[in-house]
Every structure is written in C-alpha cells, then in structure tokens.
C-alpha cells in the first residue's frame, strides 16, 4: 500500500507543482555530484545573463546555474551552502543586484521558486528555519504539496510534461525588447548595502573561505523598469554596486561591476535593439554575448 501511495503521490505532486521558472533546481538534484567547477548563484539577472552551456561546452568549465527568480542575498548564501553539500566547485559566482534590496525573502511565490526544487539537505533545513519566520508556514516549504494542491484547477498540458530539460539549470528567452540607454550614476557616488544583506554577504565570504572556494562577485547591467520611472532606484542600486567594490576589496574578493564596462560591452556587440527580453534582463542573444565577454575577459575563471 505504501508503494502505491508513494508512486501515486510523487506523480500527482509532479503534475501539480508550480513549474514557471521554479524547476531549475530540480535539475541540480539530478546533476552528477562533484563535477561542477563553478556554481552560479543570484537572481534572474544571473540566469538571464550567463549561459552555463556556453561556459561548459565552449570554455570547458563544467558549471551549474543555481540562481533563481528573486533570490535574495540570504537565499544566495544558503544556495552556496547547498552547492557545497553536493559539489566541490573551485568558484562560486554571485550576481549582486539584490544586495541593494533589504529583503530576506521576496514573497511566497519567489520563495517557493527557491525552495521547491532544492534537494533535501542541511542547507534547506537551515534556510527554512532561518528565512521562514512564521513557524506554521515552514511546513509548506518542507512539504510543498500543501502549497500547490489547489492548482488542480489550472493544470495545462505543460504540467504533465517532463521539466527536467535544463541539465545545467540554464534558462533561455527569445523575447525581444528595445531597450533605451542605461543611465549611469556618478562613479564616486556610493551607498552601503543594507546592514542585514551585508551580514549575509559576510557569512557567504566566510563560508567560501572555510571551504577553500573562491567567491567571485559580478553585476550584470540592467535598466530602470520604465524610461521615466525608476531611475532614482537604478541610481541607488548603482551606488550600492560602487560600495560593493570597496567591500570586495576589503574582503579580498574579485568583483566585476559591468555598469563600469558598458562601453566595452556595447563595443563587444551588445545591442539595445536585439539583446534584451525586457528592460532589465538579457535575452538568449544578449546572454550569449555577455557570457562570451565574461569568459574571454577571464572574469569567471577560477
């Protein structure tokens, strides 16, 4: 009876699960142990900017993309911890856009995107206990069936298909959006990242040191949400990215702020007409150019 239950439950759970962008980590569960040289962490800017298949196949560096939508700095810290439980990477590469956000978690949906595919491990347990403040809600991240069972009303053909189609956690978008010029804040303007985020960055730096893994930080360029709106927010974020430069120096960590290399990126071929999926994320074409640029510069090389 138990066998019937397990088979039926796992199948039903598979069908009911939210699959929109949150199944990346499922692939990590099936990714061969101790093979990745680099593990990427961070939020959407990371998985929209870096193609792990190019890094692995064109540059011979095996890697996995553990970035998830809306992954906050504390979540990235636990993602690194998770990576170290299953892999022995030479480097953990983190995209730092969310260092400017003072969030431990974004919202339930995004938090599920982070936790749902995570294999059972120490990092997951610690992360749930630390990041899910309401004790009664933790169970829905440990056993997410309770969060998704009501999806039976909205199931589509997609839900019944196999979603283990991104062996290295890659994500591609072929949408095209015409972006406008990215406004830049003064180079010497700086503002500290929120205290709580810096505390988790410190923990991440220590974690990597303890495990003899190099931590590499980078910041992929992005634009404001709208041409006339969100510019102040963009400037604030750029000031934080400048601060991270000092922070990284102090901690002895490599850091690449691509806002500082926008001209070079455009010269390399990045095109505002063809390479964006929206104002903040690159599409497949932009991702290819960005990845090649970073690899040719040796920025991701451990």
């Amino acid at each position: 009876m138990l066998a019937v239950f397990v088979i039926l439950f796992s199948r039903v759970w598979y069908v009911l699960r939210q699959k929109d962008l949150c199944t990346v980590q499922d692939n990590f569960r099936h990714y061969p142990k101790n093979t990745a040289e680099i593990v990427f962490i961070g939020q959407s800017h990371c998985f929209c900017s870096v193609d792990p298949n190019i890094v692995a196949e064109d540059y011979g560096i095996e890697c996995f993309m553990l970035a998830t939508s809306g992954q906050t700095v504390p979540e990235s810290y636990y993602a690194a911890m998770e990576a170290l439980e299953f892999q022995k990477p030479k480097a953990i590469v983190m995209e730092v856009a969310y260092c400017a956000n003072d969030f431990r978690t974004l919202n339930d949906g995004m938090t599920h995107m982070f936790f749902d595919g995570m294999p059972e491990c120490k990092a997951k347990k610690l992360a749930i206990d630390d990041l899910i403040e309401e004790e009664e809600n933790r169970i829905y991240f440990k056993m997410n069936f309770g969060a998704y069972h009501q999806r039976w009303k909205e199931l589509t053909e997609e839900d019944y298909r196999n979603y283990l189609t991104a062996p290295r956690g890659e994500f591609y978008s072929d949408d095209v959006f015409t972006n406008w010029d990215i406004p830049l804040e003064a180079e010497d303007a700086s503002e500290p990242m929120p205290e709580e985020m810096e505390r988790y960055m410190d923990l991440l730096v220590d974690l990597c040191k303890e495990n003899n893994v190099e931590l590499i930080l980078f910041c992929a360029p992005f634009n404001s949400m709208y041409p006339d709106d969100g510019i102040m927010d963009l400037f604030y974020r750029q000031r934080v990215f400048h601060y991270i430069s000092d922070y990284a120096k102090e901690k002895g960590v490599r850091y690449y702020n691509l806002f500082d290399e926008l001209d070079e990126l455009y010269a390399y071929g990045l095109n505002n007409e063809t390479d964006w999926k929206d104002s903040q994320h690159l599409n497949r074409s932009g991702m290819t150019k960005f990845t090649n640029y970073m690899m040719e510069k040796g920025y991701f090389l451990p």
Binding site: L8, V12, A147, H149, Q150
Partner: protein
Amino acid sequence: MLFNSFEFIRFFPIVLALYFIMPKKVRYIWLLIASYYFYMSWMPQYGLLLFGATAVTYGAGLLIDKAKKTGFKKLFLALSVVICFSLLFVFKYFMFAFSSLQMVAKLFGSSLTEPSFSLVLPVGISFFTFQAVGYVIDVYRGDVDAEKNFFRYALFVAFFPQLVAGPIERSRNLLKQIRGIENLRIWSFRQIQEGAVVMLYGYILKMIISDRAKIVVDAVFDPEVCSDYTGFIPAVATILFAIQIYCDFAGYTYIAIGASKIMGFDLMNNFNTPYLATSIRDFWARWHISLTQWFRDYLYIPLGGNRKGKFRKYLNIFIVFAVSGLWHGAAWHFVVWGVLHGILRIADDLTAPLRTKVYSKIGNIQSVSFRIYQTLGTFFFVCVAWVFFRAESIGQAFGMIGRTFTHWNPWVFTDGTMFSTGMEFKEWNVLFVALLFLLVCDICRLCKVDLKQKFLSQGWIFKSVVFVIGVMLVLVFGIYGADYDAASFIYFQF
C-alpha cells in the same frame, strides 16, 4: 491541535507507535500524557482547567461512593456539579450574561461597568465538563463504580480523540474500556484497517465537503454584505451551511472514532444520517446523539420526563431544547435556535396523529415518495433553524430568511451570480460530486448496507488502491494549505 493539521499528522503516528510497543500496564499513562499534550498545544494554561474539572469530579465520585447517607451523596453531587458548571459559566457564559444584564439595565436607563478582563473560550470545555458531570451522576445513581485510579479517570475525561468535540462519552462505555485497557485488542490488522477507513471518511467529510461549503457560507452570511444576497443565494448558502456543519461535526467524530478504533477503543456513534430523518423527533435521534442522550438522561428525565402529564412533558422538552441552544453558544441566536427546535419538536408531537390521518387518506404512507416528502419537509425546517444558528444575530437571521422568501431569482443559477459567492465553477463541481458520494453513503446506511464492512472484505490490492486514491483525493481536493486559513472544527467552540 486540529485533526486536519500537520501537527496531528506528526503527533498521531508517534502516539500510536509508542502505544503499541508500551507495556500494557502503563498504556493509559502514555495516553494521558498524549491527551494533555494534545489539549495544551492550543493554550497550555487551560490544561489546568481540564485538570481542575477532572480533580473535582474524581474526588466527588470517591466521596459519593464512600458516603453512607443519601444526604451526603446529594451534597457531594451538588457541590461537584456546581463547581463544574461554575467554571463553565465563568469561561463561556460570563460575558454573555453580562451583556444581557447590560441590555436590561439600559432599558431602565442605567448601565453596568464593563469588566476589565476578557477570557478566551477554552476549546471543548462544554464537552469535557458534560462528560465529567455525567460520570458523577452515574456514580451517584450507582450506574458505575467510582474510579479509584486518578490517572485512569483523568484519561476518561481527557481522552484526546474525543476531548474537544465529542462524542460525549458515558462512563459505562469509555471508562469501562480504560479500566480494561490492558486487555484491549491492539495489533489487529483488521481493526487498524477499519480505523483508518473511518478516519479517511472523516477527512473527506471535513476537508473536501465541509471546508469547501464554508467558502460560500462565510461569503453569504458575512453581516457586512449579507443584505446584498436575496432569493436563492441565501437559500443555497443555508443548505450549504447545513451540509457544512454536518460534515464538519460528523467528520470530526469519524476521525475520533477511527483514531480510537486503531488504538482498540470503541467510541459511540454520534450521527446516524440526520438529514434523512423524517421528523424533528427523528432528526434529534440521529443528530449529535451523545448530547441528545446526555440531556435525556441527566436533564429531561430528572425534570420529570413524560411522567408528569402532557403539559410538563412539553415544558420539559422546551427547557431541554432551550438549554441545548445555550450549550451550543453563549448568544441569544443560539437560544432561539434551540427554542425553535423545541417548538418544532412539540408541534411535531402534537400534530402527529392528525398528519397520519390526513396522509393515509391521501396516499400510501409506507411509500418511498412519502418518505422523501417527509425527509425534505424535515430538512426544510432544520435549515430554517440553522439560519439562526449561523447568523451572528437574531436580526441578521430574520433579515436573511425574509430576503430568501421575498425574492424570486432562479437566474442566479445560470447567469454566473452563484459563482460570485467566493467559489468558482470547478469547485462547485467537486462539491457536487462529493455530496453525491455522501448521499450514497448515507442512503446505504439508512438501508442497513454496511459499506465499510463490504469494503474491508475485499482483496488487499483493491483495498490498497482505493484507500490510496481516497487519501490522494483528500490531499488534492481538500481545502488546506498556505493560502487557506485552516478552518477549525465548528464544534470546538461549544
């Protein structure tokens, strides 16, 4: 701790596993610890209240047993009953009594000072108080011997499956089983299967039907917006409330009975297809049977029952139903609900000969169609009374009944209005299918077809597959989860 919570899903297997491997002699101690943990996980300090009621009735039982003179027996009985009902009054009825006095004072142009404290109603207080008081009365009457072992008695009062929402067990049933706990049959595969099936049925009633019906009921009975709903919408919501409260309470009872069965205990049945009753009298023989029997044995009969003439009989019935209303909640609309049932019950009795005469002249009173007519008629009156139970005030209840009968709007079933009450079309389909299942189960029971035994006598592959599918249906179609405010069992507040 709710039966439909993850805490219980963790709690019950642990309790069960240790109960099964524990030496026979200490089983009751283990169940007592588990029961207090179960109760105190909600509000630890109220464990003292449970303990207090237990200690008082335990002591009273012993004193009554030892007292030689009837006067002393009566004194100890009266003292324990007064103490227990005083606790019940303070925690459940004090604010109600105060606000009622306040209303009276206002009529005379005066006012009372608001009390500076407020009390949270202890879960299940009416259930364990009645169970404990029932025991003392049984000892006084000589129906049972006083229990000498305090811990065994404490387990009788606090037995976790039925602690917070019944059935209100009698000492001659549950206490007897606890006394013989060493000899109870456990490790019986058949018994475990039976218990599991009954629990599953309870979860289906609670999580698929009751909590789904609750969505519409809460939307339509919301005092802020209830005046927007007229005609068939409040009518459907009232029927759904009848279904909600039945499936909620019966669901709880089945889970309690099933959990107890797995541990080797037999709890009394609390429901017997109440909505297939053919009269109000029949309804009360089928609804919340343990409470009905409690009132019959400890209130109706001591009041004189039907032994003192017709007027006293009907007065006694009226009193019992009014008290029953008050037992269900400390508010006037519950009293009105009880009184309404009392009136219907008396009217049922008074008009029975006339109705029988008329009906037998019109047609065959043994026919199925006549039974259906009686069932529907009873259900109609029960539903009208439920409006007073569910509404938050008597005024709201009258308003809803008025708006139901003064508007004719059958188009709400076809123009989508019915789906604007918080539940979408697909959810209605699930509810409809689940209700058909419930109806089939209840009709089989009425016809003395034991579906449970028929199921248990099937091959293990068939049983396993059907059981697992049942569990999956609850997991998928049950109402629970992060985006849903876990609905407590309605009867916890009584």
